[in-house]
Symmetry: C2
Subunit: 335 residues, 2 copies
């Protein structure tokens, strides 16, 4: 029910997903919310209800709800019941386009933190030259110590392995320089520990990287505190928007350049497709006893489809088992 | 003498500068370094020596010099003598494309910090939708307290006023959200203090901004700690490179798109010009008893020209007086 233009975009996103996975039958989509509204939209968008299970809830989390008031007000909302179904063994993963702050609080209340994880983190996908990065933390924790950063490296690598089982995770710590002497004391301690943990069965540690190298493809699991990660992600978004806006403006300047748009149409189309932010829609909340994915509230049906697809891949890739393996490896090395 | 391909690029940069300011005679350029090499290049690039004064120095700061060893080894190098000329009243500003770490240490040793400034900062120019931002700190201090951030706001506003005398500086604090409750304790204290300092004779304080809004043009003096500022700047650089590389690749994909390059040539030219990083070349070291500008070591003659131009504007805009005014205003408000 959450996010702009819901449940239209969620139901249309479901439709795109079902079309993509026509040949598969190893999933079920439980839709939590107002059953009349959902049913109406399923009919409107002509969605087959073969793999769909509607669970009616009377209330939803309001947009203006804060994490503080949510504890009292969110019980039995669609968000609450959705996440609750995970501990009741009714589902493997939750997806919401609703209020982020409330989602983090409610997820943590219901699912509880994994033993021995120091802090949960919000991870996101970010394109790089060779494919895709996992970047974390994107803002769940504005202050982090070395222990948190190491947990993020282990959980981020687990996420990477579950999404890209053929590739080896390569971890890098985001810093103001690549030399060993650079950065805060917290980073220096994390650096040493990650070098010890680096290995074939876990992840390769690639040292420090600067912001310029996030998208170079040399590393694919980028670890940082939630303050820096949030600023980096949003600065990249702002920069991308600034550049594409300027590109559009330049191409529309005069008749000559207007003709060029026609000629550029196909080449710019592939450019736009590669950079389409909807493809990276979905932040993954890691460190709880069950995965929760947050879709951007402002995305459309295609963006929401990519979030459902991400959820499917996370479950098929056994994220929770991968996290357990990595944390076991970490604990063995800390004993 | 510093940076890649020097003194070729420095001398060619000087030539571009002299051509631009042909009608003016209110400046002198002192060139510190090997006089034979400099003279040879002045002849090679046919640079008139009317406004040029060569000051011979036997040694230069090596690329591999660290800030720690520089204190011993940098005396009487071109960099040292150049900055020294400021306290001797021989020059108003120093510009170098050499070793950044050494430049910061040597500048601080020779020029000393301004009384009552808590920490010096490295400020840079960054394009926004309406014109230009001043962003600081870009990496001089990886850890900052609220006092430092307030000093950065005052000094950054002074720099903005000296460069863009017709505009009012609008200060924003970089944060993970725009609501007052977001961010670290340090940011919250700085926020309160900046709101008190905000006013017509100083700067307007625009509150917190997220990374997405750095380039929106709503604010033009972006204040943050050196760790975050460095990551944000370099992430923006990396994102810009990723996007333009992808654009180039898409445009060169097939014959059809190759033809489109011809048609797009003029529109993409204006796009490229607007985003040319050489236009923003030059980081300004603020908080010392004299301004020092660091050109990117890897820039070319055009980039170096923009740094000389920046120096000229800083001196004409009376940066040191603007900083003094702002600090006086700050001290009055703290009494």
């Amino acid at each position: 029910m959450g996010g702009d233009n819901s449940p239209d975009k969620t139901i249309e996103g479901v439709k795109i997903f079902l079309n993509k996975y026509k040949s598969l039958d190893d999933f079920e989509l439980k839709l939590y919310g107002d059953k009349n509204k959902i049913y109406e939209k399923l009919v409107q968008y002509k969605v087959s209800n073969k793999f769909i299970n509607i669970i009616h809830t009377k209330s939803v989390v309001a947009d203006n709800e804060t994490p503080l008031t949510a504890i009292k007000n969110s019980k039995n909302t669609s968000m609450w019941n959705c996440i609750k179904s995970q501990i009741e063994g009714e589902s493997d993963i939750s997806l919401s386009a609703g209020n982020t702050g409330v989602l983090l609080v409610v997820s943590r209340m219901i699912l509880k933190m994994i033993d021995k994880v120091s802090k949960p983190a919000l991870a996101g996908l970010w394109p790089n030259k060779k494919g895709m990065n996992v970047v974390l933390d994107l803002g769940a924790n504005i202050e982090c110590n070395d222990r948190n950063l190491i947990d993020f490296a282990e959980m981020g690598s687990a996420l990477y392995k579950s999404l890209f089982p053929k590739d080896q995770p390569i971890v890098a710590l985001l810093n103001v320089g690549s030399e060993e002497i650079k950065g805060t004391e917290i980073l220096k301690i994390a650096y040493k520990k990650l070098r010890e943990l680096s290995g074939e069965n876990n992840f390769n540690f690639n040292g420090y990287i600067e912001g310029t190298r996030i998208m170079s493809g040399d590393s694919n699991v980028i670890v940082t505190d939630g303050f820096t990660g949030n600023i980096a992600l949003k600065t990249a978004e702002g920069t991308a928007k600034f550049i594409t806006d300027n590109l559009k403006k330049s191409l529309q300047k005069n008749l000559f350049s207007k003709i060029s748009i026609l000629f550029s149409y196909f080449s710019l189309k592939s450019f736009k497709e590669k950079l389409d932010p909807r493809k990276y829609n979905g932040a993954i909340f890691l460190g709880l006893n069950g995965p929760v994915v947050k879709s951007h509230g402002g995305t459309d049906a295609v963006g929401f489809f990519y979030s459902i697809d991400l959820c499917y891949k996370i479950v098929k890739g056994n994220l929770m088992q991968q996290i357990k393996n990595n944390l076991d490896h970490l604990n063995e090395n800390q004993e």
